[in-house]
Amino acid sequence: MSAADAAMSAGMPDHLVIAHLFPDALNLYGDRGNIDTLARRASWRGIAVEVRGIGADDGPRLAGADVIFIGGGADQHQRAVADELIALAEPLRRAIDEGAALLAVCAGYQNLGHAFRSPHVGEIPGPGLLDVETEMPAGAERFVGGIAVELEEGSPIAAADGLGRRRVVGFENHSGRTSLGPTMRPLGRVLIGRGNDGASGFEGAVAMPGDGGLRGLRIGTYLHGPLLPRNPHLADFVLASGLGRGAPIELPPLPDDAEWDAHRRFADDWTAIRPGVYRRSRIGRLRDRAGALIGF
């Protein structure tokens, strides 16, 4: 029996629509790998995949989306898309309320909140599709490095690929300080790295299907890497929620040895480099500078 037949017989959807918001402006450092991962993991299960690039005038094309993805971007593009996101707010809200799963990374995470404030650009209002606000204080330390996050006990994300693994890993590179409103919970607790604000000990924001009055799953996170290839459980949870229109369906398991090998090595390497916080000790930095001066 082919994978496609299996999909049909299990009553699984045979078609996945991924809406990729501003694929040209917001495509920083491999974020398109998230799209590749969702698409492959669907097609490996016999599901046909359609990826739609969505720009400012494409609101109507959000109808029927199963997964909505928005990636990171440089400051210039982040400002440029802010107004366009306000224009798209209604079709986005409608698609999510019809059960589409939303995944927003880095600049996308900041831009979909209620507001984003920085001394350079002032206050940029957002569509409020994520119940978060972001400040970028003048001279704020930039959080750069590998990050590992622990999902809370009993998280349905951990269960999505049948293995119950609770760790999510990625690469953070931001100076935003994001705080969560009452209708969202953090993605997880920071094991290594800095996360939402470097102080709370939490990373990301999640609204499970139905939370906050919307039927679709919503996840915002600072994790690049890209996020999904090294975290197959999270990739499958996004797929299952979107395909199930808010009621996650059961997906046949895939052979994920390569993905979990990459996950484990990344986590091990960064745990050795960045235990708790990333910045090198004062002595380590002095040693670097002295070494550079005498020609190491």
Binding site: D24, A25, N27, L28, Y29, G30, D31, R32, G33, D36, T37, R40, W44, A74, D75, Q76, H77, A80, V144, G145, G146, F171, N173, H224, G225, P226, P229, R230, L254, P255, A258, E259, D261, A262, R265, F266, D269, A292, L293, I294, G295, F296
Partner: protein, 481 residues
């Protein structure tokens, strides 16, 4: 107007600083280290601005900067300058901060502040992020900007940040400066115009037209909007990523006609290419062909940049093109050596542009096996996920390949998602993962057919390790200091 500083005092102070720097150089060398920064730093502290005063005694100077191609371009330009009969003063690759350039100057001058070899021309590679800090050390002369690609964002911040840094600096260029820039990079064209508006001489270089691209070196173009008005740029053709011919339909911003144009006449695999140059000068239009011993579109650009900079330095254009025949591959750019009757080609992989370039060069070249070594130490860039923006499947192109380095497992996943129609079947040609880069190369060489070729592409620290291991066995010269 303020009175000029009295010259004798400055001279005494400079001489003292030069003497101190010499003592430091001697001491650091005795300690068995390369003195690349400390003497210049000390001289600059004792006599602020000494580097610029020394630079005034040069016959000419060119700073070479940009995200890709600095080292190769600087090396080609140094070859051209050397062939013209002028003594060349160059800095070692990587030693490109202000104090490093000061160190190069104090090492080449007398205590009176004169260059020991009269008529010396300096060709200095400068880190793109350090450029605004380095520029005051070598005012005037030629400033060559190669390109602005995304590169190691975690270290240098976004490209926008570089553009802001350079914008401020270029506002200070004037009639004494010659800004040489790649016409095919819209951001550089816009930046050069800032200097041009202040009276700097501009020399643009670029491709003569769409390159005959037989390869599938696909590089997701960065979203480069019109630098003048922010609209979408129309593109007639592209070469690498966002480089190419462009025009803005909204404000009229467009690619200038290059003074120096290059075209690839014939590709010669991994060993080189025949290039045709066409240029315009006071004598009119002229052209000349040369065989460059470095392959790829990127090196064609580098060669054109070197010729344009040579024109900026007042050297003869035709002689400069001919001199390129003597340009050697720089350290770890398509560097070749023999092991057990196999040819090993070693090349640096550092960002999407270099991967696209390697892909296009490898296309059609006789390569039996490949090793891809990916590390993510500080010098590699901590975040190497840019390979999701490339087509690594086109790089390996069905050849047997082995992966190694700290991020090898991530690259294995990248290839799985790029090519596998069945997740249970490994990608075609995949020989597996070996943790140690040198061991991976050794095993791959041993498996290659006698007389065959192994292409090794590696990020910076992986490459240093592999190179040091083979230099230790005497099959290639040690890394230049």
């Amino acid at each position: 107007m303020t009175a000029p500083r009295t010259r004798p005092r400055a001279t005494v102070r400079d001489a003292t600083a030069l003497l101190a720097a010499r003592g430091l150089t001697w001491t650091v060398r005795r300690l068995g280290r390369g003195a690349t920064s400390l003497p210049g730093l000390a001289a600059g502290r004792l006599a602020p601005g000494i580097d610029a005063r020394l630079a005034a005694d040069l016959r000419g100077a060119a700073l070479v900067t940009g995200t890709n191609g600095k080292t190769s371009t600087a090396k080609m330009l140094a070859t051209i300058v050397g062939a013209s009969g002028h003594p060349v003063l160059a800095n070692a690759s990587g030693a490109n901060l202000r104090q490093s350039i000061g160190t190069v100057f104090v090492g080449a001058t007398t205590l009176r502040g004169r260059f020991r070899r009269r008529g010396t021309i300096a060709v200095l590679e400068v880190d793109e992020a350090a450029l605004p800090l380095v520029r005051p050390a070598v005012p005037g002369g030629v400033l060559l900007m190669t390109n602005l690609f995304r590169d190691q964002l975690d270290r240098f911040g976004e490209t926008d940040h570089l553009v802001r840094l350079w914008t401020g600096m270029l506002g200070g260029e004037g009639a004494g400066s010659t800004v040489v820039h790649c016409a095919d990079d819209p951001r550089l064209t816009s930046l050069a115009r800032i200097a041009g508006a202040n009276g700097a001489r501009l020399i643009a270089y670029g491709f003569a037209g769409a390159p005959d691209r037989t390869s599938a070196a696909e590089l997701t173009p960065e979203p480069v909007a019109c630098p003048s008005c922010g609209s979408q740029l129309r593109r007639a053709w592209t070469t690498i990523g966002h480089l190419g011919d462009y025009a803005c339909a909204t404000c009229g911003f467009a690619r200038p006609r290059p003074t120096v144009e290059v075209a690839i006449v014939e590709r010669e695999g991994l060993t080189g290419q025949r290039l045709r140059f066409a240029w315009r000068d006071s004598a009119g239009e002229a052209s000349e062909e040369v065989v460059l011993r470095l392959p790829g579109l990127g090196n064609a650009y580098n060669a054109a940049g070197a010729v344009a900079a040579a024109i900026g330095l007042g050297l003869d254009a035709r002689a400069s093109v001919r001199a390129l025949a003597g340009a050697e591959p720089p350290f770890a750019r398509f560097e070749q050596f023999a092991v057990d009757g196999r040819t090993v080609v070693l090349s640096l992989l550092k960002n999407p542009a270099t991967m696209a370039e390697l892909t296009s060069v490898a296309q059609g070249a006789p390569i039996d096996r490949m090793v891809v070594a990916l590390n993510d130490a500080f010098a590699d860039g901590r975040d190497v996920s840019w390979y999701w923006d490339c087509s690594p499947a086109d790089l390996v192109a069905g050849r047997p390949y082995r992966l190694t380095g700290r991020r090898a497992a991530d690259f294995a996943v990248r290839l799985k998602y790029a090519v596998c129609d069945d997740p249970a079947v490994p990608p075609p040609g995949y020989l597996g993962l070996v943790d140690d880069p040198t061991e991976a190369v050794d095993r791959t060489i041993a498996e290659a057919p006698a007389g065959g070729t192994v292409l090794v592409v590696a990020t910076y620290t992986a490459l240093l390790g592999i190179r040091a291991a083979f230099a230790g066995r005497g099959v290639l010269p040690p890394m230049p200091r």
